[in-house]
């Protein structure tokens, strides 16, 4: 039963690193998913720091009603690039390119991604796309300044001339193709490279979420890419797809953009949901509660996500309000199921409050706030009331800051697997408290600001000096988040090769904890028999398997010693 059989590395690999190139050429030519994933991780974290720096400047500007830190024009560039960097260059690539790239193949017992060279291409497109977008700051006229949503006709060549906007479009084309290739790669990997016995309903939740994410990428990103090509054609080839002057329809851009944009929200969120699920289960020493319900919820979110785009467009007066309202409200149901499943997983567990687990609990609370306020926005009358105010800004910052907490949890949880070394727990916990409290101090005043009528994307608010008090609190919160990011970097430097992790530091459940840290070139020298979604746990604790479907009485043999 617990016998482990050798599984030879796949032939044709010739992939013994010793014979390959070394140094910079090794990095340029690698097709190893772990190296590519690590490159993704480092690049995405750098992007997070850059986007965070923009955020700090924005908050500095808003800390007084007549802020003079930046000009109106610079402010528009800053929040455009803050949103663009965070969404396109940090959250997305981190979600489906970084940890996913490293962990998904290992979790299903695969030697690599299905298309290793395509995987490498994805990374190079992501890197060059990021450079392209950010280089807008160095051209005449500055970076793109029409908001990260680039609403037509503000993004037309009439309203926004200048090559910063073109660099923004070009950067998005590159990162868009990068995402599509990653989506193809993840789907093929999950469908074709699973280990024997790893049926679809034994895949870890993280992998399941990444599969749905990959399907959503394939559904959504081509639409964005097509829209960007139309936008570029309007700007330079004299077409009039989005301009009224030539008979075009500006609202079409919003339809196209949000048809990508709302699935994108779940493309960002689902991988982090997956990370949090894994973390909570492992650190509660329990299986994921309602494993199949969790998968069903993920698939439901994926299915509904294609029918909710126009809840971003309620106030255009051009969309079918009841349809988008009920579809958007329904998304609350599978999300709620997930929330209760997470709680069910912790319930009567033996919770180990490592940094990763703290981050996951911080995620739960922050995401709860973001999720509940999202329900308001699915109701058109309440959206008319709060649309484009700081209430919306606060809502999605609650959500994305929850994702950042999840991302940090993922880094603390899987970092030891990737590098072989643990991070310092004491610094990690201080970082957690700065991040968690900072997030609430940052977002909660913004909800109130929105309810008091402060619109988003304002550089100054001279008519409303009473808004300053709440804005100052938000700025304090943003600074605390900044401190937490610095602590994270400090922790990496401090813990560098200091605390060897061993193969299975957390008593993990899934296959990545069965192999060494870091894993060998093709990930496994041996595999355990896979009889549930927790093969490593079953191998290490054969007497503590998950209770059968529907059984909630104690096991006959008594699982508690």
């Amino acid at each position: 039963m617990t016998e482990v059989l050798e599984r030879p590395a796949p032939a044709g690999g010739h992939g013994h690193e010793e014979h390959g190139p070394t140094g910079i050429l090794k990095w340029l030519t690698t097709t190893d998913h772990k190296v590519i994933g690590l490159s993704y991780t480092v690049t995405a974290v750098v992007m997070m720091v850059i986007g965070g720096a923009f955020a700090e400047i924005i908050r500095g500007q808003l800390s007084s009603p007549n802020g003079t830190l930046v000009s109106l024009a610079q402010y528009n560039e800053l929040f455009t690039m803050h949103g663009s960097v965070m969404i396109y260059l940090f959250a997305g690539p981190f979600a489906f390119g970084a940890l996913a790239n490293i962990i998904v193949p290992i979790q299903i017992g695969a030697p690599d991604m299905a298309f290793p060279r395509l995987n490498a291409l994805s990374y190079w497109l992501y890197l060059t796309g990021s450079i392209t977008m950010l280089s807008g700051f160095f051209v005449a006229g500055g970076a793109a300044n029409f908001g990260w949503v680039a609403y037509a006709p503000l993004s037309s060549s009439v309203a926004t001339p200048g090559s910063g906007a073109d660099l923004w479009i070009g950067g998005l084309l590159l990162t868009g193709f990068s995402a599509i290739f990653t989506g193809v790669n993840l789907c093929a990997t999950v469908f074709y490279l699973r280990a024997p016995g790893m049926t679809m309903f034994r895949m870890p939740i993280f992998t399941w979420n990444l599969l749905v994410t990959a399907i959503l990428i394939l559904l959504a990103f081509p639409v964005l890419t097509a829209g960007l090509i139309m936008l570029y054609a309007d700007r330079h080839f004299g077409t009039h797809i989005f301009s009224v002057a030539g008979g075009g329809v500006p609202v079409l851009w919003q339809n196209i953009f949000w048809f990508w944009g709302h699935p994108e929200v779940y493309i960002l969120a689902l991988p982090f949901f997956g990370m949090v699920t894994e973390i909570i289960a492992v650190f509660s020493k329990k299986p994921v509660f309602g494993y199949k319900g969790m998968i069903f919820a993920t698939l439901t979110i994926g299915a509904l996500s294609l029918g909710v785009w126009a809840h971003h467009m309620f106030t255009t007066g051009t969309v079918l309000l009841p349809f988008f309202s009920i579809m958007s409200l329904l998304i609350a149901v599978p999300t709620g199921i997930k929330m209760f499943n997470w709680i069910g997983t912790m319930w009567r567990g033996q919770i180990w409050f490592s940094t990763a687990m703290l981050m996951a609990i911080g995620f739960l609370i922050t995401f709860l706030v973001g999720g509940l306020t999202g329900i308001y926005l699915a109701s058109p009358p309440l959206d008319f009331f709060t649309h484009d105010t700081y209430f919306v800004v606060a809502h999605f910052h609650s959500v994305v800051m929850a994702l950042v907490l999840g991302a940090m949890g993922g880094l603390y949880y899987w970092g030891p697997k990737i590098t072989g070394y643990l991070l310092n727990e004491r610094i990690g916990k201080i970082q957690f408290w700065f991040l968690f409290i900072g997030t609430q101090v940052f977002t909660l005043p913004m909800y109130l600001l929105g309810l008091r009528g402060m619109p988003r994307r304002m550089a100054i608010y001279p008519q409303h000096p009473s808004w300053q008090y709440l804005n100052d609190w938000a700025t304090v919160g943003a600074l605390m988040i900044g401190v937490s990011t610095i602590l994270f970097v400090v922790n990496i430097v401090y813990s560098w090769k200091r605390y060897p992790a061993g193969d299975n530091p957390w008593d993990g459940h899934t296959l990545e904890w069965f192999t060494s840290s870091p894993p060998p070139h093709h990930n496994f020298y041996r595999l355990p028999p896979i009889r549930s979604e927790r093969p490593t746990w079953d191998y290490n604790h054969p007497e503590h398997r998950a209770l059968e479907h529907g059984h909630h009485e104690p096991a006959v043999d008594g699982s508690v010693k």
Partner: protein, 279 residues
């Protein structure tokens, strides 16, 4: 103002059945409205129009639901964090499924969502209803200002960035706003009305405001529209019907002065011509 339970795109109205349905749906909202003074405001305010009040009550309803669910979830999380901490190396019971429990927390949210949707429909249909119009005001947004024209009265108010043009409207009358944009997307937002709507180029957006109290209210562009977006203010002055008529005739008399201003505006808005396609 007769609210209709039908969505605007719906078929022919059947008054009796719809009426009963409406009564049924409106009950919880009405109950909230009666209790309006005791229910917390949850940060919002009733505002100064008829629909802003129903939005406010809807807001209260949603907030009560959110508060209950939020508290429940936080208590559950706090409970397991406090009482299910690791004590020793024992391995807890490996419970994975509890089908009745899982079904419960699937079905109850579905019911809650349907309830929220029903309440939403009631308020939404009131807000997008098309009642008899007493006064029409054409609102045109441009980079970076507003133009308020009063068709049939030869009155135009126009102002850019810091000039704060003021839209004057009568109280207790149905004011039909015809909202357009000359160039990019703008947002017509009056905080005291709990309402916003995009001003889209090429689209005529219509809605009705019925103010319930007089006063001066701040309005602002909410959709990013370029460099001076932060300064694209306007004001709404709600006055009595008599004052409104007096203001109209006073404005018409000084039409010459207005003509000069609207010429400036023409110059600005001619960059991107408007072509309303929907009405």
């Amino acid at each position: 103002m007769e609210p209709s339970a039908l969505p605007p795109q719906g078929g022919p109205e059947r008054p009796r059945r719809r009426g009963r349905l409406r009564t049924l749906l409106i009950l919880p909202v009405a109950a909230l409205a009666l209790a309006g003074c005791t229910v917390p405001r949850f940060g919002a305010s009733p505002g100064a129009t008829t629909s802003s009040k129903s939005v406010f009550h809807l807001w209260q309803g949603f907030s009560i639901g959110a508060a209950i669910i939020g508290t429940l979830v936080v208590v559950l999380i706090a409970w397991s964090v406090l009482f299910h901490r690791r004590r020793g190396e024992a391995i807890p019971r490996q419970t994975q499924y509890h089908i009745p429990l899982e079904l419960t927390y699937t079905i109850i949210p579905v019911l809650i969502v349907l309830g929220l949707f029903a309440a939403t429909l009631v308020v939404e249909n009131k807000e997008v209803a098309n009642p008899k119009t007493d006064v029409v005001i054409d609102v045109n947004a441009f980079q970076w200002g507003w133009k308020f024209s009063y068709p049939g009265h030869d009155v135009v108010v126009v102002g850019q960035t810091t000039q704060d043009p003021t839209m004057v409207m009568p109280v207790d009358q149905n004011v039909r706003i015809n909202l357009t944009s000359s160039d990019v997307v703008h947002g017509f937002y009056v905080h005291a009305f709990n309402f916003s709507r995009y001003a889209l180029p090429g689209v005529l957006n219509q809605f009705t405001l019925r103010a319930t109290s007089t006063g001066l209210f701040n309005g602002q562009c909410t959709q990013l529209c370029g460099l001076y977006h932060s300064l694209m203010f306007f004001r709404v002055r709600v006055v009595s019907a008599g004052q409104y008529q007096a203001w109209l005739s006073a404005q018409a008399n000084s039409a010459a002065a207005q003509a000069a201003q609207s010429a400036t505006n023409q110059q600005i808005s001619s960059i991107v011509p408007t072509k309303p396609t929907k009405g």
